[in-house]
């Protein structure tokens, strides 16, 4: 299959092309920088007493321009994005002296968790417009409303509240110094896994910027699996709910009956 061989050929050819380059910053399409990331595993098993941890991701920037590299013109942003779900934000208001949920807005397909590390603050890397374009950063994750109850004009208010709440709960995090270059073009990113990290398929995404311009990105799935007795119980509750409910009742019957046998006075 020629189209399968092509990338391999390019990879072999590219270093020589890069070496032949004379002036910095004048790369053509064929000499574009590449980005590679690697995780030691495609699956993380965490126990139920998990209190959060750091995940280290290594990566390499290929075909770099040595001069630009030397003056720190390359920036890397690495993100661990949780499974996408709909999120409903509710706002309380005082009605007859009681605080009740008066309005709400649902955003479609937002990541359940979002942990971002970068070589420096992303606001210093590029313009807000570029960040929004690529959807990079807590403040730039697209929040598309699909349902609302109340005043639609308060959209921005709900978006801000969502971002604030997710950060407050530790699900959305950022570390503007979490990416370090360990050699000229090899980098190490540490990402925070929150204690309440959701189960499911997460995505590791790495973005490369050169002189403030987005160059390329790479992504890789990472499965987070919770293990242990507690997870077995959660799975049973969701997959065999009738059986689970009957078991809960049986447990109650045996506990109540057992107590009346043990403490019987006659």
């Amino acid at each position: 299959m020629p189209w399968r061989v092509l990338p391999l050929l390019l990879a072999l050819l590219l270093p020589s092309l890069a070496a032949a380059q004379m002036l910095p910053g004048q790369g053509t399409q064929a000499e574009r920088e590449g980005l590679e990331i690697g995780t030691s595993t495609s699956e993380i098993a965490i126990t139920s007493d998990f209190r959060g941890a750091d995940l280290t991701i290594f990566g390499a920037v290929t075909n770099t321009d040595d001069l630009l590299l030397a003056i720190g013109q390359y920036d890397v942003v690495v993100v661990l994005e949780g499974p996408r779900e709909d999120a409903t934000v509710r706002k309380k208001e005082r009605v007859f002296g009681i605080w009740i949920n008066a309005s709400s807005m649902t955003f479609a397909d937002v990541p359940h968790s979002y942990s971002m590390s970068s070589s420096r603050s992303i606001d210093d890397i590029t313009t807000p417009l570029d960040l929004t374009g690529e959807g990079i950063g807590i403040d730039h994750i697209p929040l598309r409303p699909i349902d609302f109850a109340g005043n639609f004009n308060s959209l921005n208010e709900f978006r801000t509240a969502f971002r604030r709440l997710q950060q407050g709960g530790g699900l959305y995090e950022r570390d503007p110094s979490g990416v370090r270059f360990v050699s000229s073009n090899l980098f190490k990113a540490s990402l925070r896994l929150p204690a309440n990290i959701p189960n499911g398929v997460h995505t590791v995404r790495a973005y490369l910027f050169k002189s403030g311009k987005f160059v390329t990105q790479k992504s890789q799935p990472l499965r987070v699996i919770k293990t242990g007795i507690e997870q077995t119980i959660t799975d049973a509750a969701h997959e065999q709910p009738i059986f689970y409910g009957c078991f809960a009742v049986l447990m109650a019957v045996l506990t109540g009956w057992g107590a009346s046998l043990i403490f019987r006075k006659d």
Partner: protein
């Protein structure tokens, strides 16, 4: 020592949970109540999500009611026929209740609704209990006889059709009020996570004029089946029964109840009811305060499809 509650999705101190179970068990043994109306608000105070607190509370009531029901069955103070008629209403009420529960959850008003129901019921029941017991104590202090009941008074309940004879209870009564009472209690079981004995027992005595000796056993009989049914349906529709939480509550609860019964036998009825009334009022007041004070954050977020 902390344990992780898989359904509530939070870590709790196991000794607080055991202490809560034992304390409520002790009170339920002392006062002869199921304890669901105390355990559910206590769990909510301890930051357990109300959805989980209600479903788990219903499960806990199964355990706390069963030994009482066994005792009444042995003594023959349980009217199976009357209990079964109550149960027909109870099971349909619980089904409607689960439907209301899921609907309120979907529109984000469940927590508010649960709190409001508790404030109203705990306030009313606690207030009546306190009023009645204080009056009884004052009468006792003045050596007056207890307020006379008015027997033979032709009650509207006894004019209803579809009358059936209940041999064990020695009454001839229409099934309409019985099914209706069961139905109302069934709704409360699934929405509030209570057995409902604290409403059913007085209603059976004062409204339906059922002889006092069979009332407690029969209500326990209906409570066991309705709470068991609610547990299974809550598990199947809202996935909100936390079996780990329920287990520790039950274990401490049934042991606490045994000691509660012994202490309860040594205290006088009016004093007991006054104490329980005060306790019920205090729990209701605490919930009412939570509704009125400005929340830390007026925004909240729920993740997941279908919320």
């Amino acid at each position: 020592m902390t344990i992780y509650l898989p359904i509530a999705e939070l870590s709790v101190n196991i000794f607080i949970i055991l202490g809560m179970g034992a304390a409520v068990g002790f009170l339920s043994g002392m006062f002869g109540v199921g304890g669901g109306f105390l355990i559910t608000p206590l769990l909510i105070f301890y930051n357990i999500p109300p959805v989980v607190a209600v479903a788990t509370g219903a499960n806990q009531v199964v355990a706390s009611s069963i030994s009482g029901a066994i005792t009444h069955f042995r003594r023959g103070t349980l009217d199976m026929k009357l209990g079964s008629v109550l149960l027909v209403g109870g099971l349909s009420g619980a089904t409607v209740g689960i439907w209301i529960f899921s609907l309120l959850r979907a529109i984000g008003q469940l927590d508010l609704f649960i709190s409001l129901l508790y404030v109203v019921f705990l306030g009313a029941v606690g207030g009546l209990m306190l009023w009645e017991s204080v009056n009884a104590m004052r009468r006792a202090a003045r050596n007056e006889p207890p307020a006379p009941r008015r027997p033979g008074h032709q009650h509207w309940v006894h004019k209803l059709p579809l009358k059936v004879r209940f041999k064990k209870s020695k009454i001839y009564l229409s099934v309409i009020p019985i099914v209706t009472l069961g139905f109302a209690i069934g709704i409360l079981t699934s929405v509030m996570g209570v057995g409902g004995g604290f409403i059913m027992v007085p209603a059976m005595i004062y409204l339906l004029r059922i002889p006092t000796n069979v009332v407690v056993g029969t209500s326990l009989f209906q409570i066991i089946f309705v709470t068991a049914y609610t547990t299974i349906v809550q598990a199947a529709t809202n996935y909100s029964v936390d079996i780990v939480l329920a287990f520790f509550l039950m274990l401490a609860g049934v042991i606490g109840a045994q000691y509660g019964v012994r202490v309860g036998q040594r205290l006088r009825g009016e004093q007991l009811r006054a104490l329980l009334g005060l306790l019920v009022l205090a729990v209701g007041l605490r919930l009412a305060v939570a509704l009125v004070v400005t929340p830390e954050d007026i925004y909240s977020v729920v993740m997941g499809v279908g919320n």
